[in-house]
C-alpha cells in the first residue's frame, strides 16, 4: 500500500474542490502543490529577514545573502554538481534554456552547424533553438522518439554529425513520460564535440538526477514543479562553460566595474543574475529540496512507479481508451497521455473536473509532437508522491462515464 500520509502536509489537498468533493490533483506535470513547510519558510522569510541579497551591510541583508547562497549549495548537492558556482538561479526552466541558448548558443553555433533536438520537446526547449538556428544560419534537426516515446542511441547515431554543436533534449517528455537514456546520449554527443543541454523540468522533481553521472553540460529545471514557488528555477552549467559565456541579461549586481564605454562582469554564477533576485523563491526552493530529501528521491520514484502500475491497469480496462507512449512503468515517470475514442480531450477534462479530478487537456506546449503522433490534443494525467490509489480509482471511475455523458455508446 502506498502511504497516504503526505497529503496532510499539503493544505490545498485537504480543501474540498469546487463541487464539494476532495480534489484528486493529477496535473503535477503542470505544477505541484506546496507543503506547509515551504509555505512557512516563505512566510518566515517575509516576517523575519526580507531584504535584498548581496547588497546591504545590515543584519537582515547579511542573513538573506547567507540563506540565498546556502540554497545554491543545497541545489548543487541535490543535483550532484561539483560546485555551487555551477548553479545559476533563473525564473524557471524556460528562462534557463533561453539564457543558455542565447549565451552559449550564439558563441558555439555558426552558419551550417547543426542543433539537434527531439520532436517531443516542450516548446520551451524548441523555440529558443529554432530562433538560434534562424539567427545563425544553423540547421535545426529533429530526433524521433520510438514507440515508447524515448529517443534511442540508434536514432541519435543516425542524426549526429561532426557539424552537431548542441544536443538539447528533455530527460522526460512532458507528454509521454518516457525517460530518455541521457547518459548514453550525452556520451555519444560529446564524442562528436557537441554540448548537451538537458531539460530536466520533468525529471529532477521525480527521480534521482546527478549531473556528473549523466555528464551533461547544461541542465534546466523549475522550482514550481517540485513543491517550490513559481518564478524560481535553475540553470546548471559546467563551470568552465559558464565562465566563458556572456550574460544574456544585463543590469545591477553582475559587474566588477562599469565605465562609460565598457563593463567587466563578475564570475559565474552572479554574472547571470542581473537585477534584484527572487529571494523568497530561493528560500522556498531550499525548503522544497529539504522536503524532497526527507521523503527521499528513490522513495518518490518508487511511489510513483507503483501508482503508475495501478493507473495503467485501471486505464487499460476502460473501453475505447487510447494510451500514448510506453506501457511499461519501469522506464517511465508518472505522466500518462490518453484519449477516449470520439471524444475531444477538453470534454473529457471537463467531465473529469465535475468529478473533482484535475487533469490537463490540450497540446501540452508540444505541437510538433502532437503532429508527429497524428493527434490534435490529448488528456494527460501526471502524478506526484502525494497522490494515492484512491486518486487513480476516481480518475478511472470518472473516465468510464465520459462517452455516455456525451451521448456515445459506452
Amino acid at each position: 500500500m502506498v502511504s497516504t500520509d503526505y497529503k496532510k502536509d499539503f493544505p490545498l489537498l485537504l480543501q474540498p474542490d469546487a463541487g464539494g468533493l476532495p480534489l484528486a490533483y493529477l496535473d503535477n506535470a503542470a505544477t505541484t502543490q506546496k507543503p506547509r513547510q515551504v509555505i512557512d519558510a516563505v512566510r518566515n522569510y517575509y516576517e523575519t529577514f526580507n531584504a535584498n541579497p548581496h547588497r546591504g551591510a545590515y543584519s537582515i541583508s547579511v542573513r538573506v545573502t547567507e540563506a540565498f547562497e546556502e540554497v545554491r549549495a543545497k541545489a548543487a548537492r541535490f543535483i550532484g554538481a561539483a560546485d555551487p558556482e555551477e548553479v545559476v538561479f533563473t525564473f524557471g526552466a524556460t528562462d534557463a534554456i533561453n539564457q543558455a541558448a542565447q549565451s552559449y548558443g550564439e558563441q558555439a553555433v555558426g552558419a551550417g552547424d547543426e542543433i539537434l533536438i527531439s520532436v517531443a520537446e516542450h516548446h520551451s526547449n524548441l523555440l529558443p533553438w529554432q530562433r538560434l538556428a534562424k539567427r545563425t544560419g544553423a540547421v535545426l534537426r529533429y530526433l524521433i522518439p520510438d514507440q515508447s516515446g524515448r529517443v534511442t542511441t540508434e536514432e541519435l547515431a543516425a542524426k549526429l554529425t561532426s557539424k552537431t554543436k548542441i544536443l538539447a533534449i528533455a530527460h522526460v517528455s512532458n507528454v509521454l513520460g518516457g525517460v530518455n537514456p541521457i547518459g548514453e546520449l550525452a556520451a555519444m554527443a560529446h564524442e562528436k564535440g557537441a554540448a548537451v543541454l538537458l531539460d530536466a523540468a520533468q525529471s529532477v522533481p521525480h527521480i534521482p538526477v546527478n549531473v556528473r553521472d549523466l555528464d551533461v553540460d547544461f541542465m534546466a529545471f523549475s522550482g514550481h514543479k517540485m513543491l517550490a514557488p513559481a518564478g524560481i528555477g535553475v540553470l546548471y552549467g559546467k563551470k568552465e562553460l559558464l565562465q566563458r559565456m556572456e550574460p544574456a541579461r544585463l543590469g545591477g549586481g553582475i559587474v566588477e566595474e562599469v565605465t562609460q564605454q565598457d563593463a567587466r562582469f563578475l564570475d559565474a554564477p552572479l554574472r547571470f543574475e542581473a537585477g534584484t533576485q527572487n529571494a523568497e523563491g530561493v528560500i522556498g526552493l531550499g525548503a522544497a529540496i529539504d522536503y524532497l530529501e526527507a521523503v527521499g528521491m528513490e522513495a518518490i520514484q518508487d511511489i510513483e512507479r507503483r501508482l503508475m502500475d495501478d493507473a495503467l491497469q485501471e486505464l487499460c480496462a476502460i473501453p475505447r481508451i487510447r494510451l500514448y507512449g510506453a506501457g511499461d512503468a519501469e522506464e517511465r515517470t508518472g505522466i500518462l497521455s490518453f484519449n477516449i475514442e470520439d471524444v475531444h480531450p477538453h470534454d473529457t477534462a471537463t467531465i473529469l473536473a465535475s468529478h473533482g479530478v484535475a487533469v490537463r487537456a490540450g497540446h501540452h506546449c508540444a505541437q510538433p509532437l502532437m503532429a508527429h503522433l497524428g493527434v490534435n490534443a490529448t488528456c494527460r494525467m501526471s502524478l506526484y508522491f502525494y497522490n494515492t490509489e484512491e486518486d487513480i480509482r476516481r480518475l478511472a471511475q470518472a473516465l468510464s462515464t465520459v462517452r455516455e455523458v456525451l451521448g456515445f455508446e459506452p
Binding site: 471524444v343 475531444h344 477538453h346 470534454d347 471537463t350 467531465i351 490540450g362 490534435n376 456525451l406 451521448g407
Partner: protein
C-alpha cells in the same frame, strides 16, 4: 458543475449529427477558426448569393461545445442576410458574456440558447464563441 446543463440534449445531438460537417462545393468564402490553446480547428464555408447566406458548412475538429456551437450557428444563419447573421452573432456573444437579453432575443437564438450554460465556465467560453468570431470574419471577408 452540472454536466447535463452543459452537455444538454441539443448540444449532444448537434455534436453527434455532423449534418453541417462537410466541405461546401458552392462556397465563395472559406475562413479558418482556431483555438490555439485547445486545439479546436475549423474551416467555415459560406455560400453568399444575392445578399443571402444561401448555404453554409464546416470541417475540422474540436470539442463537443465548439462542434455543437458551429453546427447550431450554421442552422441559424442559413437563409439570413449577412446583416441578420451579424446581429445573431452579436446576440450570441452578448448571451455568453451574461448580458441580459429579452425573451424575444433568446427566441431568435433558438438552439444556440442551449449554450448559455457555457457562460458559467470560463475555461470553455472560447470553445463556444470561436465559431461565431469565425463567422464574423467570414462575413467581413465576403463584404470586401
Amino acid at each position: 458543475m452540472n454536466l447535463n446543463e452543459l452537455y444538454s440534449q441539443v448540444i449532444k445531438d448537434h455534436n453527434l449529427s455532423h449534418h453541417n460537417k462537410h466541405p461546401l462545393e458552392g462556397a465563395n468564402v472559406a475562413v479558418p477558426g482556431r483555438n490555439p490553446s485547445c486545439g479546436d480547428e475549423i474551416e467555415l464555408f459560406l455560400q453568399i448569393e444575392d445578399g443571402v447566406v444561401e448555404d453554409a458548412s464546416y470541417t475540422g475538429i474540436g470539442c463537443a461545445i465548439s462542434q455543437a456551437s458551429v453546427s447550431i450557428m450554421i442552422d441559424l444563419v442559413r437563409g439570413k442576410t449577412p446583416a441578420e447573421a451579424k446581429e445573431l452573432s452579436r446576440l450570441f456573444l452578448a448571451m455568453i458574456r451574461k448580458e441580459p437579453l429579452t425573451s424575444e432575443e433568446m427566441t431568435r437564438l433558438n438552439d444556440a440558447a442551449a449554450l448559455m450554460g457555457v457562460s458559467n465556465m470560463p475555461a470553455r467560453v472560447k470553445c463556444a464563441t470561436m465559431p461565431w468570431h469565425t463567422l464574423e470574419a467570414a462575413l467581413d471577408a465576403a463584404s470586401v
